[in-house]
Every structure is written in structure tokens, then in C-alpha cells.
């Protein structure tokens, strides 16, 4: 609003904008203040010897270690970046695999009452089961390998997506299907114009949850099954050398990536798709 008005009314418009940025900065500072304060107390405790630096390194030591791992000293090789890339590739492939299985299956079960009646008890039994519990089976069958990690993360991602897809499809009222069908819509139109938009809010929530599960499972799966790479492996192997700084670097990296996936990836995606179809169409009762 301030940008469109500023050409017409330069005085108040720019003042408004300045005010808005000031409020923005103040709220950001207010958000960061407790975190910075905690880090300072932590630093103080370590510096004065209240906490043992060998077990609990200070934030500055963690920062130095982070820079070291990022490899600013030798530009061609950065261990941290390669760990992150490995982890991201594993999590994403598990997630994509999960989508490829869960979304078609979810549509099938959502549309076919008979299949739903016979499969949903199994799903409701599998849903609360931690995906990590499957790790030992894969460890026996495939050993410590990429496949083990990806399969475990796949199991973490697939059930939330499946469940959400079924809920989304089943929330579409029968009437809206009847209406479209009576007006002579083809099967393809029904899918793309009714079923897909109607189930989208639930589906997006499921995808978000599936990705979060995949990412959270990945870290522990990497601790158990990775041979040489991945953020989880980095954290767990640092234990052998009592290298706590590296562990904390890993934790910070995990937090940042987790936040980026949630807000940077799914936030805009959710806005784009759900808004596009749900402001124009108002298809079905998607509650």
C-alpha cells in the first residue's frame, strides 16, 4: 500500500514506510535479544570456568569450528557443505519417493470406499509407529548403506502424506462430484478441477508434515546407518573424538535447514497453490 501511494502522496507515504520498517526492526531485535542474552551468559560461564569448555564449548568456539568446517581456509573442499548436500539429497529422495507412493494410493483409498474399509485399519496401526523402529530390519537386509537411510526416511514421510491425502479426498462432498458429473465433465476434468483442488489444503499440510518427518528421521537414521557422510553422521562421529563444537555446529545447521524447509519452501508453495484454487473456485466443502 505504501509503495503505490508514495508517488501520489510522497510525504505521509514515506513516513509510513519508515515507521513500518522501524517497527519491523524493533520486533526483530526483541526476538533476537533473549537468544543473544542466553549466548552471552553461556559464553561468560565457559570463559570464567563455571562450565567445562571440553564438554560444553562456548558459542565463540562453536562459531570458529563452524567456519573451519565450512572451509574458508581451503576453498575447493568444504566438509560441512558436502555433509549438508548428502543429507538434503537423501531427505529429498525419500520425500519424493513417499509422494510417488502416497499420493496415488491416497486418491485410490479416498475414492474407493471398499479399499478404504480394508486398508485404513492397517494405516492407522502404522501411523503412530516411529519410522526409526524399522531401521534394524533394513540394517539386516541392506547393511549400513544409502538404501537403508532412504528407506527409513521414506517410511517416515509416506504415512503422513497418505493419511492427509485420504482425508483431503474424503472431505470433498459427494454433491460437488455429482454436480460436475451431471454437467458432463470428463474423468480428467473431475480430477483436475474438483478432486485435486478440493484436497489441496489437506494435501499441502500432509506434504509439509511428510517432509518434516523425513528430515527428522534422517538425522537419527544417519547416525545409525551412514558410513561417511551426512549431518547426522557428522554429529555422531564427532562423539568419538569428544568434539562437542562440531556437534553444536551440526545442531545449528539442522535448525537452520529445518526452518528453511518449513518457511522458505512450503510457506510460499502453500500460499501459491491453495490461494490460487481456493479464492477463485471455492470447490467443495473442504472442511
Amino acid at each position: 500500500m505504501s509503495t503505490s501511494n508514495s508517488s501520489a502522496l510522497p510525504g505521509p507515504g514515506s513516513a509510513h514506510a519508515r515507521m513500518a520498517t522501524t517497527i519491523h526492526i524493533v520486533s526483530l531485535l526483541r526476538f533476537l535479544a533473549p537468544i543473544v542474552a542466553m549466548l552471552l551468559v553461556w559464553e561468560f560461564c565457559v570463559r570464567t570456568g563455571l562450565a567445562n569448555a571440553a564438554i560444553l564449548p562456548s558459542p565463540s568456539m562453536i562459531l570458529v569450528r563452524g567456519a573451519e568446517l565450512l572451509g574458508f581456509s581451503h576453498a575447493d573442499h568444504s566438509p560441512l557443505i558436502s555433509h549438508i548436500l548428502y543429507s538434503l539429497v537423501r531427505a529429498m529422495s525419500a520425500f519424493i519417493l513417499g509422494c510417488m507412493v502416497a499420493i496415488p494410493l491416497g486418491f485410490l483409498l479416498g475414492l474407493n470406499a471398499f479399499a478404504y474399509r480394508w486398508v485404513s485399519p492397517i494405516i492407522s496401526l502404522m501411523l503412530p509407529l516411529p519410522a526409526l523402529a524399522w531401521t534394524p530390519i533394513f540394517l539386516v537386509i541392506m547393511g549400513q548403506s544409502e538404501a537403508t537411510i532412504v528407506w527409513v526416511c521414506f517410511l517416515g514421510a509416506v504415512f503422513p502424506i497418505l493419511y492427509a491425502t485420504i482425508q483431503g479426498v474424503r472431505s470433498i462432498t459427494k454433491q460437488s462430484l455429482w454436480v460436475v458429473r451431471s454437467m458432463g465433465a470428463r474423468r480428467r476434468d473431475i480430477f483436475f478441477k474438483v478432486l485435486l483442488p478440493g484436497s489441496l489444503p489437506a494435501l499441502m499440510a500432509g506434504l509439509k508434515l511428510g517432509m518434516a518427518h523425513s528430515w527428522r528421521t534422517l538425522v537419527a537414521a544417519e547416525m545409525m546407518a551412514a558410513l561417511s557422510s551426512g549431518v547426522g553422521f557428522m554429529i555422531f562421529s564427532a562423539r568419538t573424538y569428544m568434539d562437542v563444537s562440531t556437534m553444536f555446529v551440526g545442531i545449528v545447521v539442522l535448525a537452520v535447514i529445518g526452518m528453511t524447509i518449513e518457511h522458505g519452501l512450503f510457506g510460499p508453495l502453500e500460499k501459491m497453490t491453495v490461494r490460487r484454487w481456493h479464492n477463485t473456485g471455492r470447490v467443495g466443502g473442504s472442511r
Binding site: P34, P121, A133, T135, K174, R216, R239, M247, I251
Partner: protein, 277 residues
């Protein structure tokens, strides 16, 4: 949705149809197990990797009895897991409630805790395990703290929502009748958030159970269901792994839906969470 069609026609209360409908979920679970059993007996699948359900049940039964290794092994694994789970959950309820009330009721609480929580929350709970192993050591405390971390965010979140949902009128009424701050806290706020606390505990217990199993795989030195299945993978005893997974699923379902679910249903019908928003 398909049941509606049948309920339209008048039927006597105990019909075959109803009996079938009530046991149908169990049949749906039993059929794949029977196929698995048959395939195992017929030798269509590798019975080393996929031992038939009867063999799994037999192993679990033997391990739970006096001939187990050690005697009553399964019971000790389950008992140790439950002990860790309940201790962590109790910690999460106490500390989570305190933090939740601080955020919901006070300005400083909101200013201090909200940023800290939103910074820590995106970290996968199990990532703390190696650090806790070094800080605390390889014993029950590590797993209990993991359970605590996993459950507390949900407890805090629901309590903050519960306080925000509380009607301001309730405070006005209490204050206009001359209630002191302390009385408002104990007689208005605490009963008001109790239903939310139970809901938060139920949601948190799901996360906590998952985290516990993972933490036990990574950090337990002896006993616990997670330790049991991870240990079994080193000896390649597949029936112990499958049996352990089944126990994890059943206990998780029992805790979330029966134990706390019943409590939640009882309290919501008594106090009514949805009365006035």
C-alpha cells in the same frame, strides 16, 4: 460413508451386519498376517528375513517367560521403556506447564521464551542425543531428557493456546467478586487450562514415544524396546526385531489412544473445553 446406506433401513440391534462391522478392522489386519504366515509356511518368501507371524509370537512369548534370555526379558524391556517414557513425560508436564503459563500470562515470559523456543524447536529431537551422551552419560537420564524435549513443546503450545482461548469475562467475574491474584491463579487459570494440558500431553506423548525409541537405539546401554530391536539387528534375530516393532506399535497406540485418550474424553465431557471461546 457407506454405512449410512445401511442404517437407513430399519434393522434389529444385533444383526450379523453390525457384528461384522465391529470386527471388520481386526479382520483387515488379520488378512495380511495370514497371507504372510501362509507364504512363509509354503516357502514362497525367505523365512530368515520374513519369519512367519506365528514364529514371531512364539519368540516373544518365550522371551517374556521364565525361559527368556534373561528370564522375562521382554517385560524388563517394556518396563524400562515405560519408566523412561513416563519420567520424561512427567518432567515435560511440570516444566511445560510452568513455561506455558509464563508465556500466556506474563509479558516477560512471552518476550524471553518465545524466541528461545522457536530457535530450538526446529532441531530434530534426536540430534541432541550425542551431546547429551557426552554431557550426561550413557544412562537413563539421556533418554529421559530426550523424551522431555520431545514432549514439552507440544505441552507448552497447547497451554498457551488454552490461556489465549480463555474468556476475559471469567477474569472480570472473578476480579469483580474480589478474588486475589493467587485465587485467580488457583481457582480460574489452573482449572481452565487443565483440559488443554491433557490434550497437549496426548499430542506430546506421540512425539515422545517416537523419540524414546530412537534415543534408546542410539543411547541405551541396556534394556528398553529401542535397545532390544537394535541389539537384535546385530545378532540378526529377525523375529525379535519384528516382535519389538509390533510391541512398539501396540504400546504407542495404547498410550496415546487408550490411556490418555480416555482421560481426555472424560475431562472434556466433564469440564467442556468448547464452552465459551
Amino acid at each position: 460413508m457407506s454405512i449410512d446406506v445401511h442404517s437407513a433401513r430399519p434393522a434389529n440391534p444385533i444383526s450379523l451386519r453390525r457384528i461384522f462391522d465391529s470386527i471388520q478392522p481386526m479382520i483387515a489386519i488379520a488378512i495380511p498376517l495370514l497371507i504372510w504366515e501362509a507364504a512363509g509356511r509354503m516357502g514362497w518368501i525367505n523365512t530368515f528375513l520374513f519369519p512367519p507371524p506365528s514364529q514371531i509370537a512364539h519368540t516373544i512369548w518365550v522371551q517374556a517367560g521364565p525361559n527368556g534370555h534373561p528370564p522375562g526379558a521382554i517385560l524388563m524391556h517394556v518396563g524400562r521403556s515405560l519408566y523412561r517414557f513416563l519420567s520424561g513425560l512427567a518432567l515435560a508436564i511440570v516444566i511445560g506447564t510452568a513455561v506455558g503459563i509464563a508465556i500466556g500470562m506474563t509479558r516477560w515470559g512471552r518476550l524471553i521464551f518465545t524466541p528461545l523456543i522457536s530457535a530450538i524447536m526446529p532441531v530434530p529431537t534426536l540430534a541432541w542425543t550425542p551431546i547429551l551422551l557426552l554431557l550426561v552419560g550413557l544412562d537413563d537420564r539421556t533418554t529421559i531428557i530426550i523424551v522431555f524435549i520431545a514432549a514439552s513443546f507440544e505441552v507448552i503450545y497447547t497451554i498457551v493456546v488454552g490461556i489465549e482461548m480463555m474468556s476475559v469475562k471469567v477474569f472480570w467475574v472473578a476480579r469483580s467478586m474480589g478474588a486475589s491474584r493467587q485465587q485467580i491463579f488457583w481457582k480460574v487459570i489452573i482449572p481452565g487450562i487443565l483440559p488443554y494440558l491433557i490434550t497437549g500431553t496426548r499430542l506430546g506423548s506421540g512425539f515422545a514415544w517416537r523419540a524414546l525409541i530412537g534415543a534408546e537405539m542410539l543411547a541405551a546401554s541396556s534394556y528398553g524396546l529401542g535397545f532390544m530391536i537394535y541389539d537384535a539387528s546385530e545378532y540378526m534375530s529377525m523375529d525379535m526385531i519384528y516382535g519389538g516393532i509390533a510391541l512398539v506399535a501396540l504400546l504407542g497406540y495404547f498410550i496415546e489412544n487408550v490411556l490418555i485418550g480416555r482421560l481426555e474424553a472424560a475431562t472434556t465431557s466433564k469440564w467442556g473445553v468448547n464452552v465459551e471461546r
